[in-house]
Symmetry: C2
Subunit: 211 residues, 2 copies
């Protein structure tokens, strides 16, 4: 597979395909044409076929896609056929909220530990996990084969912690801190900048008001 | 301003410009050239000039941009010069985490009320707000001039609640439910699909492993 050449736009659509296929599976749908999928997802059938062609096509035109097969293939492309071990750094409200997302676990994202540099939080239990000191990060990451770190710390400490995480062997950072992180090329950062998202919403409302 | 014609990609970059300009202001920087801004933000200077030209340009080439002026102008474009009244529907962990984000308030996003259909949560105080029943939504929205609803409810109830919100006059929905909402054109939805984001991260790690 030539996955390296696939555009960010296609990649960004994959989880959405996966979600819709999961819904179809739940509804007991076994086959779906690109036309039907197009109607449901509100993207053109030709866009769907184009997207799927990046990965070999998946289906027979006319006969439609096998929902179960397509679901599993996209899961594999997304790396969901493997387990990932996660830690959460920053155990405030947001960190605790993410720790309690059961749906992550269903997809193979296992939260193994929670950390905070605030002594008042250390020792507190969240979903059966005792919040640890950030001093324990290095040993914990190595002993528990952690590949993903969820960063829910304030902007000011995120840069420094990210540097440490890279040194300790973390492969992916899910970054909720409101700052762009500077990491080596072999480390992946996926940003969730909540303020940016809220500002985009505000922009659209503002434009609608000015029309 | 021809804001209607501006691409999603440009809009998505505006909050990032705003963030970097805020950092520059904090550092006491008064003027910045597009070259310097380019270096900081890791996008080309020509991209920056192109983006800014959508809004009239903002600055004198050679002489650089006035940081304070640019910050305020982008704030206006993003609608941050106006106050927005928000409610949070779904007062579980994530809803409570968002209620506690002080930075939203600094940008003019005022959280006025919290709602949940779970009687066990109703009456509980979060940041001085007592969680209300979703039965009170209509009157609360109208009496408090609410324009944005934050939707942190499970997927299954999101569609129905979104329909009600539209009927009650909500202009924008910040949607954290893992489902695409179907709303009229004059209502804006900004999605934060956390699972999708985590899957994108997993995809990138998976690709890096396969190299």
């Amino acid at each position: 597979m030539a996955e390296k050449d696939i555009s960010q736009a296609v990649i960004a659509r994959l989880p959405r395909y996966f979600r819709f296929l999961g819904d179809l599976k739940e509804e007991g749908v076994e086959r779906i044409s690109s036309q039907e999928l197009s109607k449901r997802m509100r993207i053109t059938a030709s866009q769907i076929r184009q997207d799927f062609n990046h990965f070999g096509g998946f289906g027979q035109q006319g006969y439609g896609y096998n929902v179960d097969y397509l679901y599993n293939e996209i899961a594999k492309i997304l790396g969901l056929d493997k387990k990932h071990n996660l830690i959460i750094i920053g155990s405030g409200n947001l960190g605790q909220a993410l720790a309690n997302y059961v749906s992550f676990e269903k997809r193979g994202f296992l939260i193994k530990g929670m950390f905070d540099n605030n002594p008042a939080l250390q020792g507190k239990a969240v979903r059966g996990m005792s919040i640890r000191s950030t001093n324990e990060l290095e040993s914990f990451i190595k002993e528990n084969n952690i590949d993903i770190a969820v960063l829910t710390v304030p902007k000011n400490s995120a840069t420094e912690i990210a540097k440490q995480l890279v040194k300790f062997g973390i492969r992916g950072i899910w970054n909720f801190a409101h700052v762009d992180l500077d990491v080596p090329k072999d480390v992946t950062v996926e940003n969730v900048h909540l303020s940016d998202s809220l500002m985009k919403l505000s922009y659209q409302i503002n434009c609608a008001n000015n029309k």
